[in-house]
Amino acid sequence: MTSVDVAIVGAGPAGVSAAWPLARAGFRIALLDAGPERPRVDGPMSLEELNRDPDQWRHRLGGDLRGLGSARQVSPKLATPLAMAVTNGASQALGIISEGVALVVGRGAGGLSAIWGGGAVTMEAGDMTGWPISLSDLRPHYEAVAARIGISGHADEALAGFAGASLPLDFPLPPCPPVAHLLANAAQARKGGFAIGRALNAVITRDRPGRAACTRCGLCLWGCPRKSIYDAGDEIPALVEFPNLAWRPATLVEALRPADGGWELVVAGGERLRARRVVLAGGTLSSTRLVLAAYGATGQRVRLQTNPVAAAAFVVPRLLLRKGDPNSFALGQAGWRLDIGEGDYATGVFYGADALPLSAMAERMFFSRPFALRTASFLTGSLVVSNSYLDGRYSDTWIRLEDDGRLQVGGSLPEAASARLLEINGRVAAALRPMGGWYLPGSFAVAAPCADVHYASTMPMGGCATFATDAFGSSASLPGLYVVDGSILPSLPPKHLTLTVMANAHRIASALAEEGLST
């Protein structure tokens, strides 16, 4: 039976960020991931090239036309062949089931960073009240992670603090003209508690070893051909260079058991792995499932926080006759923040529509299909799509470990949350009007719970919840086990959590590396 010093369960953003300090410290590490090796996407190098290619359907819908398969209402981002390859079958394989929520579960090296939107945002001091750590504890790790993965953007005054002003940044990608128009008129909107600024994205604009700078080819949703968008799976080859790190794909950890002053990991297929320490980074759902199983805590509901989210579309009439530009990118182009009283706030991201699939948009329009498709195409040049997020306190989602070992996720969207989101949309629309952006009537839609894919806070650091952990993601009942992913965030402000999760994982792993393994 193999025995290692540290077993890292999960090779997504959290696991990979934890792996670096531990690998450098020389421990014998096994980096485990449930998914098979994911083949890289091979295809055209730009949206323009794709649009001319007679075989483009293969790339956009999949060679087996699986992109046509989903008759249910799914975000177009999740209906591309790449997204379906990462998510289809993942919940089954990981033993996660859901009812009544739009759950997204991914599997494979890189986890959901294989298909994420790249939003890079840090917490502010105000977001971390009640946390057992402060922003200054986290700051050096934010900087280390940002330097490692590459973040581009402008440290915007309007969003200073919100967007991590102290991060090392590549120069920003130029936003698409409709968003640029809004940004140029940002001064008009400063009143009313609404602030808008350039977005920070985990996309490089300068070449790095193994990754090329973004050229705005527009293929973001179908798989970045240049590896400009950060994908934790891309760091695996570099980690494998460490002689003390063993990379174990296609290794699903089914259970954890204490053994001999350390842990025994039960792998699907019967293998057993021994480790003195376990770093759990399988993503909130998988990690919580393993911990609950280790406690034997079946049948209890555990609070899960998610960010209620809604979407809306805005048109910039000044640019109505703009024809759209295949030189674009589908990631967030601007971020906004709206104060809604008593320290509470909502945030959002603006996207251009140049690289969005039109059929999906056309389906949501009232018009007959040919007219809707042409209208969607016509509006591409002047459309801005917006997502808005609320604090996790507004959510009503939970998880529960069932008797058969699977994790059930459930929840609903409280009336208060939808009402808030609607009100916020109204205020955003009002703020954008003087800036030259008009709300497109009928385009507002609140998403089903869990559609935000920000799952967190099941085992909060320093909390008094049943399965709380300490400032290092550990608990006295399960010594030597460190949970480092979204599960341990004590609260879920309305921000993208990935960078924070990575910085926190880096912090815990660095502390573990320094402390050493002598117990």
Binding site: N51, R52, D53, P54, Q56, W57, R60, L61, D64, L65, R66, G67, L68, G69, A71, M84, A85, N88, G89, A90, Q92, A93, I97, E99, R107, A268, L320, L321, R322, K323, G324, P357, L358, S359, A362, E363, F366, F367, S368, R369, P370, F371, L373, R374, T375, S377, F378, T380, G381, D404, G405, R406
Partner: protein, 415 residues
Amino acid sequence: MAEHLLVTGASGYIGSRLVRRALAAGHAITVLGRAPDVRGLRSFPWRLGEPVPDAASAGFGGIGPVTAVIHLAHDFDTRSDAQGHSGGLNIEGSVAIARACREAGCRRFVFASSQSAAEDALNVYGRTKYAVEMALAGPGTVSARIGLVYGGEARGQYGLLRRLSLLAPVLPMLDPWRHVQPIHVDEVVDGLLRLASSDHEGWVGLAGPSPVPFGDVLRSLARQLGGRRLRLLPVSSRLALMACNLMASLPILPSVSCEKILGLAGTRPMDTAGHLESLGLSVLPIVDGLRRESAHRRALVAEGRVLGRYILGAPPPAVLLRRYVRSLTVAAEQDALALPWLAGLAPSALRFVDPLTVSPGLGRRVAVMCHLIETSPAGQAMLQRSRGARGLAMLLGSLVLELFAAPFRLLASRW
């Protein structure tokens, strides 16, 4: 009655068709297989020979536990062991599933066997299938001895026969007079689904009731699928075996394993008329079965032409029509819609009944065509023309018609 079916071999030629039809009929499906199921079905990783996960036969999400197993998975390793059939994997693995499911309370087990199943069959496959049948025999278990399957997607053995029949105008063929009993894949699927809720035991023949010469099968495929006349040169079995070894070593020609030749040579007639009647299943002669497929295809092409003209505003290119037919065939949705004859004359009239949401039926077909058009160069060109000042002019021009059509669409969706 809606069943909860546990299916193995669900990604194969018959299996994938079975799963689609079963879902369309309202059954619940659980899949046991190697790769995670890309269709999003409830699936458990499993290989023949491994223990069956307990949770697989349990109920889920409001659906009860498994009511019937349809076992299509087969390990094709043809190295025969001491008993002359392929390693215990098929026998032990199949018995293990049957036992696991019986213990979980499932009463019905349908095993996909073959017409070649016999203790003294010439091919390893036939002997193995027979051995598995004997090992599984018991209450609640039925073995479906499936004949020569054709139709649907060009996969597996059917795909091979298609390629062979279209390979050349003259083909040397072993035993073209050997009688076989062809059955369409949809008829096989229908039969297996009926067996899943019937109480037949022992074995049941799922094959055409009237044997036809194998050569006729190849000739029918050549005529229906390629519009060609195929001539067959009868070949002695020894020469055929040598030729197939040669074909296997040359990469350009499709390789036919000797197993298949032995399988054909050893085919024995099976009296299935009684079985088919007791199942309420009717099996068409292959000529009619292929004609029906062609008829379906032609209907879908016509439908695609109408929908393509409706959305694109111009006749869609042939390659787009083929893709449309393929998308629907792959999704086992091959029944064409009954579009009003007016739509054929003036497809733009469809805007008066364009559904408000993506509902099954017209809504779904329109959505499929829309995706296909968007991902084609012709569609991209159309979408480009819809932008800018010219696009605005065109939109404003059709806006009046659009608003006029709105009340009709509302009415049509109510009704």
